[in-house]
Amino acid sequence: MPDWLRRLLAHPSGSVGCLLLAVALVLAVAGPSLAPFDPETFHPRRRFEGPGLEFWLGTDQFGRDLLSRLLHGARSTILFGVIATAIGTSLGAAVGLASGYAGGLIDEAVMRIMDALLAIPSLLFSLLIVTVLGGSTVNAVAAVAVTIAPGMARIARSVTLSVKSRDFVAAAVARGESHAFTMFREVLPNVAAAVVVEASIRVAFATMVGATLSYLGLGAQPPASDWGLLIAEARPHMLRNAWLVIGPGLGIATITIGFNLFGDALRDALNPRVGR
């Protein structure tokens, strides 16, 4: 087991985070096959039932089994966060690395643009993009990715600047290494840890924005069972069966908290100085 993984698991919030993420992983992989019912089968006589022996978490306004819908929706909800973050992070890190490495006027120009993007509230920004592109899951992923990128660019750039001033970069320059080597082999690995940590925290944020977009009807479309969409559909019936909101709400909260704890612990684990 690599050293950082052992440190991660020894970390109190790391172990809880890992546990929650393991649950999420199981849901994302095996969710549909664990579901006791088809998520789209109506049970007209069993509408708005509370938790019971047959329908563990109860049923919705059409008498569909909530647990099955949650299990079927887990994959797309979690994948949404992960994919949007991965795209946004790569985009932002590439911009930040290049900008920080280039320095000077290029850096100034790129960073001012990023600052301008950061100034727009992220949910508003996502809404803007989805409204222009039209509501669909793919467009929502793109919107959230673009929203995440400027923040990641800032982080990647500031770490790049501090790494660039270290002597091993000067040594590479004095040796006559190419820019590509210096940037990707000398600088990037030292920037990566910070970016990965930040990204793991951003997954929680992306999941939430994704759910919000679905809730607003701009992401996944019915009859999909994304958790955000589940809450949106349940909203008018919230007072008749609160479980319809609580179930997916707890699901989103668990994923968010899991990734947050994991990210915090990962930051400590990847920093060898804290561990020793």
């Binding site: 270290r166 002597d167 091993f168 000067a170 040594a171 590479a172 320059v173 004095a174 040796r175 006559g176 290494e177 082999r185 000398e186 690995p189 030292n190 060898p272 561990g275 020793r276």
Partner: protein
Amino acid sequence: MTPALAIERLSVGYRVRGGTLQALRDVSLTIAPGEVVGLVGESGSGKSTLAYAAVRYLAANAAIGAGRVLLAGEDLLEATPQALRQIRGRRIGMVYQDPGTALNPSLRLGEQVAELLRTHLGLDARAAEARTAELLRMVALPDPQFIMRRYPHEVSGGEKQRVLIAMAFACDPDLLVLDEPTTALDATTAAGILDLIRALQQRTGVAVLYITHDLGIVAEIAQRLAVIYAGTIVEEGPTEAVLRRPRHFYTRMLLASLPNPARIAERRRLVSFPGLPPDLRAPPAGCVFADRCPAVEAACRTAPPVLAGDAQKSACRRADIVAASDLGVRPVAAANGGGGEALLRAEGITVEYRRIGILDRLRGRPGDRVSAVSDVDLVLARGETVGLVGESGCGKSTLARALSGLVAWQGRLVFDGRPIAAAAAMDRAYRRRVQLVFQNPDQSLNPRMRIGTILSRPLRLYHALSGKALAREIAAWLDRVRLPESYARRHPHELSGGEKQRVAIARAFAADPAVVLCDEITSGLDVSIQAAILNLLMDLQAARGTTLLLISHDLNMVQHFADRIAVMYLGKLVELRPAYGMARPPFHPYSEALLAAVPVAEPGLHARAVRLHGPLPSPKNPPAGCRFHSRCPRKLGAVCEAAPPPVRTAEDDHWIRCQIPLGELAAVPPIWQREPA
């Protein structure tokens, strides 16, 4: 008489990953009232733990296993927190290594001293202020009222350390604990601080525990000396006796790893320590030094030795043979001197840093301009070693960066007969032939790369090696810098400081360079490791005929290894001379001050005090005329301020840039005086 401080059989451990680090084991030390005791050890020896234990101010993960710490008979380990607060600062004064972090950056200096007086002595505001001014005058700060109103960042490191010393003496303490108080300072500043501590100690008669890694400093200040190694005291006794006739092999080797500036003519190879100190998480059962000792016997490894003896105690089984043993020290072959064919010729090299703010740019103003290196001429001959010496901020590192193309420069540079127009014209061929080794290997080795990858870069770039040939060559280079082959798979953080620097040296030499520029490569390392690194460098040079530029603030180390010495002050070379005649005048007044500031670990040998006054001027605004005139102890007068000094040639390869005629410079008394034994 009750000792001022008595540490009795003290053991301190730190809880760390993988067990308990036994930082101090069964350490006893007493300091009589009015006595100065030097505690000498290297990093990790436990000397700072002892300093903190003496005021019972240990880190949170420290645990005191056993023992007593008696301050004038009162056990500090039993004292209540309130009692401790009364004792610290009041009865024990402390000065630590880094004056930059010991002061609160957001309080005026006067306020920080006055607060201490109000708290401990109950003085009112006006009395505290008057007393503060008095204290600052006592530590020879020229304008106390001015200093009192300054913030820490507005004064120099030496001035800050003086303020801290004033604070340590403020409440007329019984004991002073000084933990490396001069290590973070420049040599000439450090010498002044040491003078001050000695004078104040003699005036007040305070007992002092002086902690340092430098045997030379101890020789100058301490009456008694204790040597600590791997958490145990290995030797203790009167300073003169220990330095003249050490009775422990560690002390003996430590002495032999230091150059003696007064004996530069009788150069010998410095002793380098084999191996590493023991892992204190599992300290050895026998003698802690057994693994590195040249006279180790089987019995040394089984039973722990006892610190025994009358006046001079030693924890060595073979204490009787230590002083007489020959450590395999042999004289160094005669210097090959200058006069060889010029390989690198630098003329009028100037480096300017410019800082232009956006407002300045809009208004078309030039902004701040700092000339870090100004008009430097330097010739490096094939195969020679040139030492470049100067204090921090003098531009010596910038010169190295200019010569390796890391900063833009103006001037003329000819390398191997080929003129180089500018930094941009330094192509890969030039960079291959001129390599740079950086000061701090933690910075210069990429923490995310394995050692093998780090060493592979020059081999791939310049020799186009790959596959098996590459692996073979990496192993060969590890072997040449005396590291095991298995290190290729390690990351830098798994190596010690000295080992990392060996890797950095191997990386530079693997390019097969003609010139290696070494920028303060030993300054972060312990004395015993410094000698090993420099010996290694000399061996590599001897085998490959490489030209070396040794850049350092440590004149003593450099003059021992260099053929010629260049002295730099505020961006200008002020003197260039052969190293072997280093102790012979004429000197540039600055070189003279640097030489006199070297602490010598030889009892009975005293350097004449040559002290500089005032702080180092800012390179943004260097003094007109001779740049050294504002601090020069031999300043002639207006002529020094008016015109740049002429270059005066003393011998073929010895010149001095000074207004004072050579005859007068040559007539100065010798720097070292030997007391009749």
